[in-house]
């Protein structure tokens, strides 16, 4: 598998087909005598921004702390939880059970309070 072409930046959907974000950063592990291997990936603006530049990552993390949406983020998905890698990356978790839903949930409180939002 070409990690950059086939995994990085791909859409991640949960077990119910709900959009969770994208594969924003890969986590690799290497043993003393073994080649590096992907063990997990991260989802979240801080992980994505850190990929662009370390200072962008720090800025994104700082903003998340400022708005109190930093708990449990970036979300780490173990490769063992990946159900399939096709056009999308399907994972065996639920969107609402992870911190990927934190910002959506926080904004929904505001959006949902307006008339005709549902």
């Amino acid at each position: 598998m070409d990690l950059v072409r086939d995994l990085l930046d791909k859409k991640v959907v949960d077990r119910h087909g709900r959009d969770m974000g994208r594969v924003d950063r890969l986590i690799l592990e290497s043993g003393e005598h073994s080649a590096p291997r992907v063990v997990a990936f991260q989802i979240g603006p801080d992980a994505l921004a850190a990929r662009v530049a370390p200072w962008c990552g720090r800025l994104a993390s700082g903003l998340q702390r400022l708005f109190k949406v930093d708990e449990g983020r970036p979300v780490r998905i173990e490769l063992a939880d990946v159900l399939s890698i096709d056009a999308d990356v399907k994972v065996d978790v639920a969107f609402g059970e992870t911190a990927t839903a934190t910002i959506e949930r926080a904004l929904r409180r505001w959006v949902g309070s307006l008339p005709f939002s549902s």
């Binding site: 950059v4 990085l8 930046d9 791909k10 859409k11 991640v12 709900r18 959009d19 969770m20 974000g21 994208r22 924003d24 603006p45 994505l48 990929r51 662009v52 056009a87 910002i103 959506e104 904004l107 929904r108 505001w110 959006v111 949902g112 307006l114 005709f116 939002s117 549902s118």
Partner: protein
């Protein structure tokens, strides 16, 4: 039957939604200063836009990916940051310019300063996006936009010399003001090939659940809709050339552009011009605003959709609301809508190669478009457009300085 209805609606609303603040101002200025001479620029830009929108729709129908989503996946975030940032800046300026154009249209009708209409129009834009689904945004505004056919009727009624117009489809050098001529030619291209249209078109294909078997609908809509839309732009240019140029009226404000309707529509000239400008600009402001929501949601894979309950796609709603507020903030700082339009159009040209280049790759990648890859001719045209776009991106800033 459903596909035929989609096709007719798609073509008709493409015509109604084609003309907005950029195309009206560039075509009106071109006509008043160079007669029919710049019709070729509209023709070429329209053909390029049709080609790109067809590809956007094909990509979406086959891969179930919009342009923004496919670019993120295929090119990664490092590449995408450039068009994403550029689009955020340009779309914000364009929303400001479109709301400004609509505000001037109301000013023409009421004589109340356009600044007073900026905030109510921004609120109306947001309310429309809050309360309506994709059909109202696309088809409702597109149908209302058919009032812009007044430009074609006006040109027709003025009985232009058809052979003169025909000859203007081939580029010729002007007798005066070479840099101004070149600037207007480049601006017409920038005003016509708006990057937001490409993602909006592909998002529409996903919203409307366009399938691979309906690609013919996409192709016909793109080519017929855009080409007829180009005729409306040409109507602006021809009317301006026949009415404003002989009277040496230069279009340095929308109020002056409105005079082009007087010979044909008499007392109704100003209200009709105001309706065409207002609806065209307001429709574009709505499309630009929702497209910001689309683009950010697709790049980061948030839940999105104009047909979804708003509470179910809170980040999508927040993205377009935030950008609309930014555009209103820029507008309230005070600006000349015509100058801002020309600046936005020039910036659009600067990013054109970055917008066009991904199509060359995506439309030849079978992972995205399966067997519907582009042919030799389309690839050749796209490659030429990328190169020409690169040259235009370099020359547009000096042209803006010396000819703008």
């Amino acid at each position: 039957m459903g596909a035929i209805v989609d096709l007719v609606l798609g073509v008709v609303t493409s015509i109604g939604g084609f003309v907005e603040v950029g195309s009206i101002s560039t075509a009106a200025q071109a006509g008043s200063e160079f007669g029919y001479q710049l019709i070729w620029a509209i023709a070429i830009a329209t053909a390029m836009l049709a080609l790109l929108t067809e590809m956007s729709g094909r990509l979406a129908a086959v891969s179930r990916r919009t342009v923004a989503a496919a670019v993120r996946e295929r090119f990664g975030i490092h590449f995408q940051l450039v068009p994403l940032t550029a689009e955020l800046v340009i779309d914000t300026l364009l929303i400001t310019a479109e709301i400004g154009g609509a505000a001037i249209a109301i000013k023409l009708l009421t004589n109340v300063g356009f600044e007073w209409w900026l905030a109510p129009l921004a609120l109306l834009t947001w309310l429309l996006l809050w309360l309506s689904g994709f059909a109202v945004i696309e088809y409702g505004l597109g149908l209302l936009g058919l009032v812009t056919l007044a430009f074609v009727i006006s040109a027709w009624q003025l009985h232009p010399d058809v052979s003169d117009i025909g000859r203007s489809f081939l580029p010729t050098t002007p007798h005066h003001h070479y840099t101004r001529y070149a600037f207007l030619a480049v601006s017409i291209v920038g005003a016509t090939i708006s990057p937001y249209l490409l993602n909006f078109f592909s998002s529409g294909a996903i919203e409307e659940k366009l399938t691979e078997s309906e690609l013919w609908v996409n192709t016909t809509t793109a080519y017929m809709g855009m080409c007829f839309g180009g005729v409306v732009s040409m109507g602006v240019l021809v009317t301006s050339a026949m009415v404003l140029q002989p009277r040496h009226i230069l279009v340095d404000s929308y109020e002056q552009a409105a005079l082009m309707f007087v010979p044909v529509f008499g007392h109704y000239a100003i209200p009709l011009f105001a309706a065409a400008l207002g609806i065209g600009c307001f429709g574009a402001a709505v499309e630009l605003t929702v497209n910001i929501g689309y683009t950010f949601s697709q790049v980061f894979n948030w839940t999105w959709g104009a047909n979804k309950p708003r509470r179910d796609c809170a980040r999508f709603v927040t993205a377009f609301t935030f950008v609309l507020l930014m555009a209103l903030g820029v507008a309230l700082m005070g600006f000349d809508p015509l100058r801002l339009t020309m600046l936005s159009v020039a910036l659009t040209v600067v990013i054109m190669p970055i917008v066009v280049l991904p199509f060359l790759v995506l439309m030849n990648d079978k992972k995205y478009v399966k067997d519907h890859t582009s042919g030799v001719i389309a690839n050749g045209v796209l490659a030429a457009l990328t190169i020409v776009g690169g040259i235009l991106a370099v020359v547009v800033v000096p042209l803006e300085m010396f000819g703008g």
